[in-house]
Symmetry: C2
Subunit: 154 residues, 2 copies
């Protein structure tokens, strides 16, 4: 990171951003080209959990190459002004790297859904069998992450 | 795309999402690994414009490999419920591919800033020379894009 004055390196702060976020952008490799998607997620204990159908392009990509980059970003305020120099975006974000594992056993999927439901403040359990069968969980073990922020002065 | 019932393929609708968005996620290659970042942008005539400092990791990556994937996503509504099956996210998003060009001549940078300022509804011109010198514009020519939506019924 070029702007070290904006860096967040404390794990607790990074986790707070991941816990408050609802959508992440997941970048993977599709052949030799980057491919990014917006996805809902849950976070717990150093892992991100994503719920998806049991087929599709991202599963094809991740099966070949599980290395991913992710980003969770929150725009706190957009400052506008007369000239361009007065404009500013107040934000905080986390960008990281990890490895995706595809979880397709029933118990593993339920545990993953539980993380996602808790993340969104919802009730765990009561998942319909047909939905469990037609879906999968992608778990991303975070290998590294850094945060960046530019917040309004207090 | 697996869910063709959710696909947006009309250029006008795709452009509308790009014109209304304020932040995109840009995925590139850092060596052989994906790398994604959240960035403000402007859109005009099939190209995305990003303003950035004249040094940093993304420029290093894009200089080596200009192929990118981008995503602009808007969460319209989050539907909550008692059980997991009742939860839903209403959204619309565009995911695409393009090639990044680094624009470092003064006139090109001014034209790029103009696109970004217009995109945000701001006033063009009046850019300070020291900011022009310390920054660059990344122009992404969009090669392909598709949209996806799940909107509330009217």
């Amino acid at each position: 990171m070029r702007r070290h004055d904006r860096e967040i390196s404390e794990l607790q702060q990074l986790e707070e951003i991941l816990k408050q976020g609802r959508e992440l952008n997941l970048a993977m490799l599709d052949g030799d080209q980057p491919y990014v998607l917006p996805l809902n997620y849950g976070y717990a204990d150093g892992c991100l959990y994503i719920h998806c159908a049991n087929q599709g392009q991202k599963l094809d990509c991740l099966s070949v190459n599980p290395q991913v980059s992710f980003c969770v970003s929150e725009v706190v305020q957009r400052v506008t002004g007369g000239t361009a120099c007065e404009w500013n975006t107040r934000f905080r974000s986390v960008v990281g790297r990890g490895r995706a594992e595809i979880i397709d056993d029933r118990e593993g999927k339920i545990a993953g859904y539980d993380v996602i439901m808790r993340h969104f403040g919802g009730q765990v359990g009561g998942y319909k069998e047909k939905h469990l069968e037609a879906s999968l969980v992608i778990r991303i073990r975070i290998d590294s992450m850094t945060g960046k922020q530019s917040l309004p002065s207090r």
